[in-house]
Amino acid sequence: MLDGLQEILFTLRQNKLRTLLTAFGVFWGIFMLVLLLGAGRGMQNGVYEDFGTDVLDFIIVWTGTTTTAYHGLPPGRAIRLNLEDIEAVRQQISGIRLLSAERFVPDGGTMSYHGKNSNAEVLGVPDEYFKVKEDVPFNFGRKPNPLDQEEIRKAVVIGTVVAERLFAKGEDPVGKYIRVKDVEMKVVGIFYDKGGRGRNSERVLMPLTTMQKMYGDVRFTDNIWVRPAKGVDGFELEKKVLELLKRRHDVAPQDIRGIASFNMAEPMQRVTGLFIGIDVFIWFVGLGTLTAGIVGISNIMIITVKERTREIGIRKALGATPFNIVSTLLLESTLVTGVAGYVGLVVGVALLELVAFGLRSAGAQLPYFVNPSVDFKLAITALLLLVGVGVLAGLMPALRAAKITPTEAMKAE
């Protein structure tokens, strides 16, 4: 086996041009495929980047003033949601994964720490809220937990922007007490929310129960967040939730000001369409490249075998069995395509990484192109496919070559 391999390596070395041509065909096919896949992934990443750190399936419901008269009630009524609404939605509508209230302190809040002041939005949120914001990283301290709610602790988490404004550089805010609207509260964590182009990091979040205790109005909530359960149609769910809430508050079904909603699934749908488009394009070009590579290998294999008919004849006369001939030819093509494909893979990935590194280190912000990378499993599959087809392409002429008699083969020039 080792001897056979040495024999093959020797033959390959002695036929450099042929080897190089075959190898280059495979190399190029895989290389281009990796680049394409990487570029496609870069575009997808770029588009996703625009969505910030929100989960991608939330529905948010908020209220305003009614615009139409309904059930004998005049227009212009201000609608406010409350915790009973949330309970009703929870009990009457199925297919909900998560429900959360979200309450804002009216007019925002002023907060201070050792003479430094800042203004920020102050929100009271239940523990479930952080499952809506599950992708928001807490780089320092901790996330709020159910105990904060239960024990009505005066614990807040603050956004990075707030932390920068209140605390000196190098000072760790975690564990410090800040004044929020004249109440001393302990900072337990710092988060960074990309949403609203970083504006969402100008926030201070406290337990809903704490806020209820501080500001009264126990029942109210400004927004309701909903996430559908897996496999549930977000648009259906949104419709049902709106219907129920409008019924409960006597808002006309067509009134879009009284109770309004936004469904993340809507922009996602457009983006998904775009991604499918990109994917189809990539696969079209990629498969084209791959096919070209396959045809190239097949051709070269056929020519190779033809070119070597005489050699095969000589080897057979000297005692090579058909199995010797076929296995040597196949091992040869596997070796060449395998190594060349692997090199193509490595070079392609290296180039992608280089581009990604260049973009990062230059701090360049290309619109819709972030962190190009390649699905390794896919690339390996393509590589195996190419090698497999290369071997198959070699198999047919190899079998034919093994069949012709040595005398016939030796006559070939």
Binding site: Q6, T11, A317, G319
Partner: protein, 233 residues
């Protein structure tokens, strides 16, 4: 060593099968140096192919070293060729991308002999044919006579029972022809059984016995005086 009895061979060409060998009878004893002569179309190439197990025959029998060679599978035929036969061709048939030693070592590769042992034995045989100073030369760096010497070393390296030489001097000038025939006779003196196929009287006369083939049949075999002298000396 070789016994052919009523060997027939047909080639299918069109509707009329071509009857090439029409009952060939011949014997070659162990240690003999025999030539098969005949004009082109006499069937001597076909006969050589059958002797070399490169081709099959349609009826009759062929015994090689006490073994019946009948209808064989490709693999079996290859093994027999490898073990029993050494070939020398008119056009040398060296692999162009291998040097002299590697060319000679090739039959041993198919016998499963390790590389080191292979090259060692190959060099031994290159010494024997007088090419100890050309071991690393590629075929295109060798003259025709030198190429044929390499081919002869290659035919010998596997220690075959019979060496088949197909027009071994056909591509060589008269001086080189003489050298190669001297080498073949020398190898014969070392106890090898050799069959030379040729159409040159000069060459045939240097063998112990000439088998004359005409129209697919052996018409005569005669013992050469010239060769007897060579054996006697």
């Amino acid at each position: 060593m070789i016994e052919l009895h009523q060997v027939h061979k047909y080639y299918k060409t069109g509707d009329q099968p071509l009857h090439v060998l029409k009952g060939v009878d011949m014997n070659v004893r162990e240690g003999e140096l025999v030539s098969i002569m005949g004009s082109s179309g006499s069937g001597k190439s076909t006969l050589l192919n059958i002797l070399g197990i490169l081709d099959s025959y349609d009826s009759g029998s062929y015994m090689l070293a006490g073994r019946q060679v009948g209808k064989l599978g490709e693999t079996e035929a290859a093994r027999l060729r490898n073990k029993m036969l050494g070939f020398v061709f008119q056009s040398f048939n060296l692999l162009p991308f291998k040097n002299a030693t590697e060319n000679v070592a090739l039959p041993l590769y198919y016998q499963g002999v390790g590389r080191k042992e292979r090259n060692y034995r190959a060099e031994e045989y290159l010494d024997m044919v007088g090419l100890s100073d050309r071991k690393d030369f590629m075929p295109n760096q060798l003259s025709g006579g030198q190429k044929q010497r390499v081919a002869i070393a290659r035919a010998l390296v596997g220690k075959p029972k019979v060496i088949l030489a197909d027009e071994p001097t056909g591509a060589l000038d008269s001086v080189t022809t003489h050298e190669i025939m001297a080498l073949i006779k020398d190898i014969h003196r070392r106890g090898n059984t050799i069959i030379v196929v040729t159409h040159e009287m000069d060459v045939a006369n240097q063998t112990e016995r000439q088998i004359l083939l005409k129209d697919g049949q052996v018409t005569s075999t005669q013992v050469s005086g010239d060769a007897r002298e060579a054996v006697g000396s």
